[in-house]
């Protein structure tokens, strides 16, 4: 079990993340018991096996690499209780767009989890883009990070957390 932040609280979590090592392929890799987040390629190659093996106690989810968008998951969203967005480096901002698209374009209601190089100072931005679970990098303190969600109380833009921009609420 690891500790992650979920809906602004630190919780114990049992999901594992399957990553393809050198030489492993989506078609041949051993599928671990859930709860497991598998790469998009594994999901597409082994969807029926993964779904057959899954259960409420051992669910399956998918993680998107930084270059991968949610487009190819559009038809599968109802089958996924967790979609993770990987940040290979915290300075790689592609995951912010992926999360917003999942929520705003594809209407995904399940958990979106940030994995990878996830650092406290980006939590505020990630949360605005619709990410609601955060597997912080192992050396970071999740309890201390909780305060950073409230860095800015009333930001200007429309985003997932507040679909109306400030200018539409300002006069009221």
């Amino acid at each position: 079990m690891t500790r992650i932040i979920k809906n602004r609280a630190v919780v114990e979590d049992s999901w594992s993340v399957l990553r393809l090592a050198e030489g492993e392929t989506a078609d041949t890799i051993d599928l671990p018991q859930g709860p497991v987040l598998v790469p998009l390629s594994v999901w597409h190659a082994r969807k029926s096996a993964l779904l057959a093996a899954s259960s409420p106690a051992a669910p399956v989810g998918v993680w998107l690499a930084a270059g991968e968008g949610p487009e190819s998951l559009a038809d599968d969203l109802a089958q996924l209780s967790v979609i993770a967005v990987d940040f290979p480096k915290f300075t790689d901002g592609r995951g912010y767009s992926a999360a917003r698209l999942l929520r705003e374009r594809y209407g995904y209601q399940g958990e979106i989890r940030a994995i990878g190089d996830v650092l406290p100072d980006q939590l505020f931005l990630m949360a605005r883009c619709g990410i609601d679970a955060f597997a912080l990098r192992a050396d970071k303190d999740a309890d201390k990070a909780l305060t950073l969600f409230d860095t800015f109380k009333t930001p200007y833009q429309a985003a997932v957390d507040q679909p109306q921009p400030l200018f539409r609420r300002r006069a009221a």
């Binding site: 968008g69 915290f90 300075t91 790689d92 901002g93 592609r94 912010y96 767009s97 992926a98 917003r100 374009r105 650092l119 100072d121 980006q122 505020f124 931005l125 990630m126 605005r128 883009c129 303190d141 860095t151 800015f152 109380k153 009333t154 930001p155 200007y156 833009q157 429309a158 985003a159 679909p163 109306q164 921009p165 400030l166 200018f167 539409r168 300002r170 006069a171």
Partner: protein, 558 residues
């Protein structure tokens, strides 16, 4: 100008608290240098040669006298008594210890200023025409839309970690005075046949290592749609821009790789989902912001003030200053005045704390308490009565701010260069000073007339050398500082890049080379022909021959 309400105030105050906490955690070892780096950059803080360089935003170039006094105070209390205006409406301090930056930010927040996103791979400070609101050729004052863009881009959650920096410029007049063809997004305010206001949207321009003129992705975008359309552009860039090589990560490289038609298709496809959404600007919001930019309480004055005309006839020095530094105004009896920060012997764009206080006083006395910053690194008092120009000139002279050289060769754009900047390959200020010294004689300077000379200390091109009529670029050759010369670049509606004329020169030869280039012009010009016109007519060959002739005959050039 725009004034903060409680929301705006809260955001900049929260920013100060955030950064103070980040500095504390960095010092405590909770944030590594690598983790802290983009956080400090997004507050304009670089680690430089001497101390951190701290870049403060002057959004779309507008400053109140109170803000300028605060900048003067920060220069005095935190720095060594001066600051440097850049080509992108920023003021840079060079000597503020990192530990004191949170306090400096707090002082800025009190006067509705900040350093938000003045660096880093995010949307930078929006820039525009320094004569916004007063120019005779204006279609629409760009500043309300600039402020809306400022708010939209401030802490944008999706676009804080782009592949690379992202710069937006807006121009609202017939003549482009904001270098819009060389920005990541350039916006031209225009009216369509029905008289509706919108933008021509240009994407993928930029200077730097790979200078490229931007291309039009949309000829007319209704103004209400600018935020959603920008989101579409930024989203395509954020997702598909290169991240494997920092030198190829600007949006211009993506636009080149896809071709502008394909890029535009992707943007339009993305925008189809966003168009008409909540980020569509409402008329009420536009009106709220635009009200801050209503014209000041101008007096009813004759179009031409007799005393002003007479003073020019009697005082040649005043007349010279008027000729170079004073521009017509759309309101009868008023003028727009440029205060030169290009006094020979000083670093172009540098201004002392005392001068900042003086400019604030001049703004209060003569120009409704407002000042603009130009991308040519000067200051503008935009609303001066003709009958007060002479008094203003006297006061500005006393503060060393009345050098009558706007648009002349000594009014050069120049980055801080190797004296301050860690990125620089070569110094630029001594080159600027050497050129200024060659052209100190006013008759000679005036005889040469309008010309733009731009100097950058490295290929990052902060000194816009690519678009100077004469461009000077510092390069590193075996640990020595050399300078490459380009000719024929220009800004404006016909903006394009200059071409390198040949091998580079050592530092002590640059001013002499510039003098030779000017000599070719003076020897060959037709009546009323400017440097750039003669260059266009003759081509670069006679200029190259003059500069390289001796060298090529003798030894092989370096």
């Amino acid at each position: 100008m725009y004034r903060y309400d409680n929301y705006d105030h809260a955001l900049v105050q929260e920013r100060v608290a955030q950064f103070r906490d980040q500095v504390r955690r960095w010092k405590a070892g909770e944030l590594s240098d690598e983790e802290f780096r983009p956080l400090r950059l997004q507050n304009g803080l670089y680690i430089q040669r001497h101390a951190p360089m701290f870049r403060v935003a002057v959004p779309y170039g507008m400053l109140s006298s109170a803000q300028l006094r605060r900048l003067a105070k920060i220069a005095r209390d935190y720095d060594k008594g001066y600051g440097h205006f850049t080509t992108r409406h920023n003021l840079q301090f060079n000597w503020i210890p990192l530990e004191r930056v949170p306090d400096a930010l707090a002082e800025l927040a009190e006067v509705e200023m900040h350093a938000i996103q003045t660096s880093g791979n995010c949307i930078r400070n929006v820039t525009t025409d320094q004569f916004a609101g007063v120019a005779a050729d204006e279609i629409l004052d760009p500043r309300p839309l600039c402020e809306l863009l400022r708010q939209w881009s401030t802490f944008h959650p999706e676009f804080a970690f782009l592949p690379r920096k992202f710069k937006i410029a807006v121009n609202g007049a017939l003549e482009d005075r904001a270098l819009t063809w060389f920005h990541d997004i350039g916006l031209h305010i225009r009216k369509n046949e029905a008289g509706e206001v919108g933008f021509r949207v240009i994407v993928g321009g930029g200077l730097g290592r790979t200078p490229i003129r931007g291309q039009v992705v949309r000829e007319f975008l209704p103004w209400q749609d600018i935020l959603t359309y920008n989101e579409a552009i930024l989203r395509v860039y954020n997702r598909y821009g290169r991240r494997d090589n920092a030198y190829k990560a600007r949006i211009k490289i993506l636009v080149q790789a896809l071709g502008v038609e394909k890029f535009a298709e992707q943007v339009e496809a993305e925008w189809a989902h966003l168009k008409g959404g909540p980020a569509t600007i409402t008329q009420a919001e536009y009106d709220r912001v635009a009200a801050f930019f209503n014209p000041p309480a101008y007096a009813q004055l004759p179009a031409i003030d007799e005393g002003f005309v007479q003073a020019q006839a009697e005082l040649p020095a005043f007349a010279r200053w008027v000729e170079r530094n004073v521009r017509p105004h759309r309101v009868p009896g008023y003028a727009a005045v440029t205060l030169s920060l290009k006094k020979p012997g000083t670093a172009p764009g540098d201004v002392s704390d005392v001068q900042m206080d003086r400019v604030a006083d001049l703004a209060d006395r003569y120009s409704f308490g407002e000042v603009r910053v130009t991308h040519e690194q000067n200051l503008v008092l935009a609303d001066v009565r003709q009958d007060e120009l002479q008094a203003l000139w006297q006061d500005a002279k006393a503060a060393a701010l009345a050098t009558p050289n706007i648009g002349l060769i000594t009014d050069m754009i120049c980055c801080p260069g190797g004296d301050f900047c860690d990125l620089a390959n070569a110094k630029s200020i001594p080159i600027a000073n050497a050129i200024q010294a060659k052209f100190e004689d006013l008759d000679y300077l005036y005889d040469i007339g309008d010309i733009e000379l731009n100097i950058s200390g490295c290929m990052n091109s902060c000194g816009h050398h690519h678009v100077g009529h004469i461009g000077v670029l510092g390069v590193d050759k075996g640990n020595e500082e050399w300078y490459q010369i380009t000719l024929g670049g220009r800004q404006g509606n016909n903006a394009h890049l200059g071409k390198v004329i040949g091998p580079s020169f050592p530092a002590d030869e640059v001013a002499g080379v510039v003098e030779k280039l000017i000599g070719v012009y003076l020897d060959n010009r037709h009546e009323d022909e400017l440097f750039i016109d003669t260059l266009d007519r003759l081509g670069v060959e006679p200029f190259k021959d003059k500069v390289y002739g001796d060298r090529l005959k003798g030894k092989k050039a370096a």
